[in-house]
């Protein structure tokens, strides 16, 4: 059958890059909407039905995208401006063992959390201190993982919001400042992870190391070649706004700022469109202001001060004076206290409040209208960092009442004593549990985390200090546990042959997840791209080569994994940059230096970076960072090779 090719053209072409999971994301929608409002034609290509195979830059400006639809037809689409959307994988700079299967990208870790039954104990190390790193850490602690560390390089500014940091520390998470040094297998499903800090080498025994980042400073938009109207835009936010409010806000800002730039470049005649031009200028001003706010917060992160276990006076005053905290209503009745003092882009509590008691203004930030608050507690449930509390501080009373969110695997009981924690997770004293309200109902999920609003009676002097709870003493006996069963009732396990061993795996789950659960995951499985775009997770199922991420477990299947390659068994892969082709960091630097090459394209072609099976998914960001360290202008560089991965055509 002849290959069918259809032609099309748009002013603005937005395409999904390889491995993009969510399509279209918030940034894409914001960009497309604004461009359409400015009367530009916009084409958006991506998703399961329209797979973009690559981009060919045109001479001058713009480019051509080749797209294959689900029926094998090819669409050749030209755009005067073209934006490729990517979801960066985010590996750190290479260190010894970074190619091990234990170093997971953040998205893979989140997928395993949501869909798998992977074991996370005894500890997890998370590289990075961004919001998503902290939220994952908090989630792991709540689910019972005994230790979680967030690790960043010494001297790096703290990347996340103070409220997420607060929650992480309250739950017992720890920060370490050091550089990853070595990751080596200690035992089955256990890894020896070493970091180098100011005191020397610190050894951690972990189940996983999660690369959460951020590992580079980038505003998420690149244009390359300069003035070519060929862009690359990062899509890095989570699936929902509550999982990543900052990421969502940034992505929307990014999309809108890029749309403004493109509209100005493509629309030359504004004669009859004065109003639209003004709208564009407004948009530009707003997005610049927001970006400036975000960057300012990143450069000067906020943190509370403590003297011992107690909040220092300036910070304590800042909390009491914050417009989100109540002034007097708490002395009469229970009322909410919204204590996220940092200037962050989040309006989740405002949206959740049914009584419009929480307002956000440009001048004051978040503030609470005490008179309207009915202490329904919806803000506690909605806040991703669980910062709001309900407080009642009756005048002259020796005790106060706090309602806090508690998430964990085991519930409190009435009249039980709970350990009260400060905003750094340090114990202050104890309080009596008066009652609790289930927020998420008990279910029969193994390892499920239950959420409760717990009302605690606390000594009056701790009313503004205690902001976390921990169980005192042992976990309740088995009959009192909330965990209903040890098996997921919705799925059954079937017997399969996995590397010549018989194993029980959950029927119907992706084979790639099963490999992680059984501790047999290889380094190639780490990307867990789900659409097979990386092409790395090849296995042999019943004698046929398949991709593990696209193969479901079924009864009786026989699975063979590749024998570990010589490369994967290499002792020291700290210098390895491209695991597919065995190209080291030194190879790249030597080639660049000896040839005095100053163009990223020239160096890439000379070294062959990105020519391996992963087509640069693993190595391109570390490659860029190496070039930047070497003083080569690679910040804006985009690899426009075509196609992004091998493209099979049947004729």
């Amino acid at each position: 059958m002849p290959i069918q090719v259809r032609e099309g053209s748009f002013d603005v072409l937005v395409i999904a890059g390889p491995g993009v999971r969510r399509w279209p994301g918030l940034g894409v929608r914001a960009l497309a909407t604004l461009c359409a409002e400015m009367d530009l034609s916009v084409g958006v290509f991506g998703g399961e039905g329209l797979k973009v195979k690559g981009v060919l830059p045109l001479s001058g400006t713009g480019g051509v995208a080749l797209v294959e639809d689900s029926q094998g037809r090819i669409h050749r689409v030209e755009g005067r401006a073209l934006i490729r959307v990517i979801e960066p994988i985010g590996f750190p700079d290479p260190f010894e063992g970074w190619l091990s299967s234990a170093l997971l990208p953040l998205e893979t870790a989140l997928q395993l959390r949501k869909q798998g039954q992977t074991i996370w104990t005894p500890a997890v190390a998370i590289l990075g201190t961004g919001n998503r790193a902290l939220m994952l850490g908090a989630e792991l602690l709540e689910s019972g993982v005994p230790e979680v560390f967030c690790i960043d390089r010494p001297g790096s500014p703290f990347a996340g919001w103070e409220v997420h940091r607060r929650r992480f520390e309250t739950l017992g998470g720890r920060f370490l400042w050091g550089a990853p040094y070595r990751l080596a297998k200690a035992a089955r499903m256990l890894w020896d992870f070493r970091i180098q800090d100011e005191f020397g080498i610190r050894v951690l025994e972990v189940a996983w190391v999660v690369a959460a980042g951020p590992f580079s400073k980038s505003d998420g938009v690149r244009e390359f070649p300069p003035e070519s109207l060929l862009f690359e835009m990062e899509q890095s936010s989570a699936d929902s706004v509550s999982e990543d409010p900052e990421g969502w806000a940034l992505e929307e800002q990014r999309g809108r700022a890029l749309a403004v730039k493109i509209c100005k470049a493509l629309s030359s005649d504004w004669t009859d469109r004065r109003a639209k031009k003004d709208q564009l200028e407004d948009e530009l001003r707003r997005s610049r202001l927001q970006m400036r706010r975000t960057l300012k917060r990143r450069d000067q992160p906020f943190s509370l001060e403590f003297i011992g276990k107690w909040t220092a006076a300036p910070s304590s005053r800042a909390i009491r004076d914050f417009p989100g905290a109540p002034r007097q209503e708490q002395s009469k009745r229970t009322v909410a206290s919204i204590e996220c003092i940092e200037d962050v882009e989040c309006g989740i509590c405002q949206t959740a409040c049914p009584d419009s008691a929480i307002l956000i203004s440009r001048e004051q930030g978040r503030f609470l209208d005490e008179s309207r608050c009915t202490s329904c507690g919806k803000c506690l449930d909605a806040c991703p960092a669980k910062i709001p509390v309900l407080i009642q501080e009756l005048e002259g009373h020796p005790t106060a009442q706090l309602t806090l969110t508690y998430r964990g695997r085991h519930a409190f009981r009435q009249n039980e004593l709970a350990v009260l924690l400060n905003r750094r997770g340090e114990a202050l004293g104890s309080g009596k549990v008066m009652d609790f309200v289930e927020v998420t109902p008990a279910g029969d999920a193994v390892g499920a985390v239950f959420e409760h609003r717990v009302r605690v009676e606390v000594p009056a002097h701790l009313a503004w200090e205690a902001r976390g709870l921990r169980r005192a003493g042992e976990v309740p006996s088995h009959e009192e546990e909330w965990v209903m069963s040890s098996e997921l009732s919705a799925s059954t396990k079937v017997e399969v042959q996995l590397r010549n061993d018989k194993r029980l795996l959950r029927n119907g789950q992706p084979l790639a997840l099963a490999l992680f659960e059984t501790g047999l995951a290889r380094a190639e499985d780490r990307l867990l791209c789900r659409d097979g775009s990386c092409g790395l997770c090849e296995v042999v199922v019943d004698g046929v080569k398949r991709l593990a991420c696209r193969t479901q477990v079924h009864r009786g299947m026989a699975v063979q994994l590749d024998a570990p390659s010589a490369r994967s068994q290499q002792q020291d892969d700290s210098g390895m940059l491209c695991p597919c082709l065995g190209i080291t960091r030194e190879d790249v630097l030597a080639r660049a230096r000896e040839g005095r090459l100053s163009s990223p394209d020239a160096i890439r072609q000379a070294c062959g970076i990105g020519d391996g099976r992963c087509r640069g998914r693993i190595c391109s960001e570390p490659f860029r960072r190496i070039l930047l360290e070497e003083g080569i202008a690679a910040e804006q560089w985009i690899d426009w090779r075509f196609p992004w991965s091998e493209w099979t055509l049947s004729v």
């Binding site: 290959i3 005095r596 055509l649």
Partner: protein
Amino acid sequence: MPLECDVALLGTGLAPLLAAQSLLRQGLSVLLLNPDHDFFRENSELPLEPVFLGDVEPKTIEVIRRQHLDRARDILAPEFPGAIEVWSRESAGLSRSFRDLSAPFLRARQWNWIPRSHDDAYLRLLEGGLNPLHSSGLAAARRFPGYNWQRGLDPAFQALGLDRLVDIDLERYRNGVLEFVQTRLSHERMLTSISGLEVLDSGLRFLHEGSAVQARAARGLWVFWTPRVSSWLEKFCASRKQEKLLPATPGIAWEEWSLRSRDPIDPSQVGISQDALAWARIEGEPREPWLELNVLMPAAGQIAGAESFLRLSRFVQSFLNWDRFRIRDLRTRTLLGVEPGEWKIEGAVPVRILSGCEGGVIGVVDRAMKFASRGVA
């Protein structure tokens, strides 16, 4: 302070670099101006000459002669600072005392052409002194890279073979020349991303990194004409009332596809049909297995358009007998499509223009070097 030089060179790719090299050897000072940020962004050279995609004409014979190993080595080697390694089927596997594996490799292969009129082509090549080798049937089919004769063989398959014609590792060669010139020219004299070039009586003026720069070129400006500088040349000629000086440029887009083959491809052969050239894609020291097939063909109309895919699938399916193919890479370039030539525009700053700075790399090197030596004289 304006930059002073004997000759200013404007262009992208190898040609201005080679000219700079030649001028520096002659003791002249040079200013190199490239409108792109990356010297080879335009990618206007081809690793081999796309001959035979048409009839045999007298100039074709000369082009083919230039592609012969000995002649090519004579043209390329002096202009390259380091070693150029040679590979051929005969020399493969032989041990040698020393080889520079990072050097550009000049590969001598047998080129097998399937002409429209076999006998006529045979006679023309013979008359040109090229000694073609006739083959037919299975012998000819086996020599055509990627041809799946097991799925079917056209009994009328005939080809003419020419031995020891070459292609080269283009990136390595280019980067080597660039590196050599960079060691001899300071970074102030090799400027990329320049724009707004004006040729005034007092000298040259242009923008570089947002700043205006002035330069004086005692012997004038040399322009290496490729599509990248076409629009500037057009405006310049118009400003000098020389609109009709340069020929029209039809522009030919070339697509170089790299396809993954199921079966190994013979690295010692190049195949040329009516539509395309095909050869095993190799970089550096050839190592087995050779599973990538390069297919070079002119784009019909738009790059990677419907016609391109039609031609590609016709070549791959109808001719090579493949049932499916995997595209690993596609590189495109647009060439002017004009004959090599030289023009001059007199003035306070004389301007010389050279075409033929794109296409097969051996031809580009040859023309650029001759132009540089003639230019000074």
